[in-house]
């Protein structure tokens, strides 16, 4: 009996040691990228000036405005959206046991767009863009959650009947197309001002998030991640499939509902305020699994959060094209970074059918 106890701790601590080494490094990288992101922008501000504006409040008030009104919210948005998108992607991949699942691919982001489109164009624009700005933002978030939640339950309803990975993905794409079709019809019937408001939103970027929106984004992301943390143990079990999970005492329906609520909140809010951002949700969990070499969600959830933030900060910096005045849509950058990874997953997935 004694001899077990020695080796057993080794077996456990191996993954833990790996995590203990990598995790602080990732956090450090995230902080460095965060500071670097503050430094980048169309106006050239020296690093010292930025630090001065951040920590002392003295220095050029113009710089201070740029840092506090634009760059800081933008960088914080990148981190929070990175947290939210990657955790929602991880949850989808685990629940559907599908390596290609993610909020964008499954049509959840499209659902959120539909919710926002109906709110912005279908209802009176005055509700949204009136002086009651805070209420308007919550209304947008709520519409996005409902839209993403509905799509999520549709996908689930189908996935119970159809087990095939690729079919579910194709259905996700179809749901996505259907929602964009509805959005087009809405655009056709809406007034010019409403249309403009919506188009600006669809082009959305990390930089268009207002302070009050950022507050909502942060609060809801925190709530969504709190649920995800509570579901980490259950998600570990879900990797074994429904039968094993429930034979080990998991209440599948409840766990799945909680995870869906969390995913809808996370992916929905980010989509509501930043526009659809593709591929972060798919790619980050894979990178995290490869880096930490584990399937344990107690490591994957925090790991994905930090990795997602790092990736979105990098994407944001690329989108700002250092030295140029223009900013690329963040969605294009994440797509170009993410697609090669997704192709690699598809090719590898040919060999291993049920992979996650």
């Amino acid at each position: 009996m004694k001899e077990f106890s020695k080796g057993k701790l080794e077996a456990v601590s191996k993954t833990r040691k790996r995590g203990a080494m990598i995790f602080p490094g990732l956090i450090l990288l995230m902080v460095c990228l965060f500071l670097l992101d503050l430094f980048l922008g169309s106006v050239r501000i020296s690093f010292m000036e930025i630090l001065r504006a951040l920590f002392t409040g003295s220095g050029d008030p113009e710089y201070s405005t740029i840092v506090f009104q634009f760059r800081l919210p933008r960088a914080i948005t990148a981190i929070v959206a990175g947290f939210a998108l990657s955790v929602s992607g991880l949850q989808m991949q685990t629940v559907f046991r599908n390596p290609l699942a993610g909020p964008f691919v499954l049509g959840i982001s499209a659902g959120a767009s539909l919710g926002v489109a109906i709110l912005v164009m279908g209802l009176s624009a005055s509700v949204v863009f009136s002086g009651l700005y805070g209420f308007g933002n919550w209304a947008i978030a709520l519409a996005a959650w409902m839209g993403s939640g509905i799509i999520l339950f549709l996908v689930l309803a189908v996935s119970i009947r159809v087990r095939d990975i690729m079919t579910i993905l194709i259905l996700g794409i179809l749901f996505g197309s259907a929602t964009s079709a509805i959005v087009s019809i809405l655009q056709y019937f809406s007034s010019e001002t409403m249309l403009k408001a919506f188009v600006v939103w669809t082009m959305g970027s990390l930089g268009n998030v207002s302070i009050s929106q950022l507050r909502i984004l942060t609060i809801t992301t925190f709530a969504g991640i709190l649920i995800a943390v509570g579901m980490m143990k259950s998600m570990n079990l879900m990797l074994l499939g429904e039968n094993y999970a429930s034979s080990l005492g998991l209440n599948i329906r409840w766990s799945r509902s909680m995870i869906f609520i969390s995913t809808s909140i996370l992916a929905g809010t980010v989509t509501a305020f930043c526009g659809p951002i593709a591929f972060i949700g798919i790619v980050v969990p894979h990178i995290t699994r490869m880096v930490f070499k584990t399937a344990d969600h107690r490591i994957l959830v925090p790991g994905s959060m930090v990795t997602g933030a790092v990736l979105l900060l990098i994407s944001d910096m690329i989108s700002q094209l250092p030295g140029y005045d223009v900013t690329l849509p963040i969605n294009s950058v994440t797509a170009l970074l993410g697609i090669p990874v997704v192709i690699a997953i598809v090719i590898r997935n040919k060999k291993i059918s049920a992979f996650v």
Binding site: T15, L240, S247, K293, A295
Partner: protein, 335 residues
């Protein structure tokens, strides 16, 4: 029958999938399992073995009737409570990347750990012990995708050991395995029931394994379930009845399944011991039936010899010596 020694018992159980047709898969099931017994559920494909086992572990609801676990209705137990008492291994092959064997077995502690699923010292100890019991202590850090089918199946069993349940239910635990692995798994199950007092219920197609290892057989025939020790089922001709309409035959003397062959020419065999037995099997395989000397035209005598036996064939006065059963068979075919 004293119900109190049974850990699991079904009464008028009707199983199936609630759907449009509402037709039960199998009905009127009255079976029981005693503490520490190893039970084999036998029956042809599609008769409902899996459905029965799934119903016993609460993965699907019975259509009618009830199941009693320790004399309390199974559905009185909460899922989590039951998970501490009944473990389940299905035919599903688990493929999860980056999941080590240790972590897989560790998931068996799920019903016992806190909300984070943190393994305490005691939990880790139990997991280690479970892995040790199935003989995989050298593979703990291996990825579950990288081990063989037999090893994965043993890991799945170790998971139920870590789950620390009184009953383990296994759906076709030997289905994908080669012969040595098949016997090893069954041997492991027998050991667990004898040494650890676990009640083990498994479904199988393999009559030989059931006869050799099971304390009790639940034989699912199209017209009802017959239960009893495998020997009882041999003696009351239940096994024979399985093969009624097939070309197979159950040999009640030897407890084996044989092809029903057109018996042809009669042959006389004079030989003893293991050589004699295998020669007889070869002759039966070739379609001969053994008979007394005076009724046969062909006689075979086995000469034991110092090192190797010799087979002497005598046919219509002609005598030929063969040095192996294969040569003997060639010789006989020649005529």
């Amino acid at each position: 029958m004293d119900g109190s020694t049974d850990i699991l018992r079904t009464v008028e159980l009707e199983i199936g999938y609630p759907g449009k047709q509402q037709l039960p898969v199998y009905s009127n099931i009255n079976v029981s399992a005693g503490r520490g017994e190893i039970i084999a559920a036998l029956g042809q494909n599609g008769i409902g073995k899996s459905t029965l086992l799934r119903t016993l572990v609460q993965l699907q609801k019975p259509m009618r009737g009830s199941i009693f676990f320790k004399n309390t209705d199974l559905y009185q137990y909460k899922r989590k409570e039951l998970a501490r008492s009944i473990g389940f291994v299905s035919t599903e092959i688990i493929q999860v990347s980056n999941l080590t064997l240790f972590d897989l077995v560790g998931l068996g502690r799920f019903p016992h750990t806190n909300w984070l699923g943190r393994l305490t010292e005691d939990d880790i100890h139990l997991v280690r012990e479970a892995i040790h019991q199935v003989g995989l202590e050298n593979m703990m850090d291996k990825n579950i995708n990288e081990v063989s089918d037999g090893e994965r199946q043993r890991a799945m069993i170790a998971r139920t050991l870590a789950q620390d349940t009184e009953i383990i239910v296994l759906d076709e635990p030997t289905a994908f395995l080669d012969l040595p692995n098949r016997y090893e798994i069954v041997h492991l199950l027998t050991e667990l029931s004898r040494m650890k007092g676990k009640t083990i219920i498994f479904s199988t197609h393999d009559l030989n394994i059931a006869i050799q290892e099971a304390d009790k057989v639940w034989l699912m025939l199209p017209d009802g379930i017959i239960t009893g020790s495998p020997e009882d089922l041999v003696l009351n001709h239940s096994f024979s009845s399985i093969f009624k309409e097939t070309r197979l035959q159950f040999d009640e003397q030897k407890g084996e399944i044989r092809m029903n062959r057109e018996t042809g020419e009669m042959i006389y065999l004079d030989g003893e011991g293991i050589t004699g037995m295998w020669t007889r099997r070869a002759l039966e395989r070739l379609g001969y039936s053994l008979a007394e000397k005076n009724r046969c035209n062909t006689w075979i005598r086995i000469e034991p010899g110092k090192e190797k036996p010799t087979w002497i064939v005598e046919k219509r006065g002609e005598i030929v010596e063969c040095n192996s059963i294969y040569n003997l068979s060639l010789r006989l075919k020649l005529d």
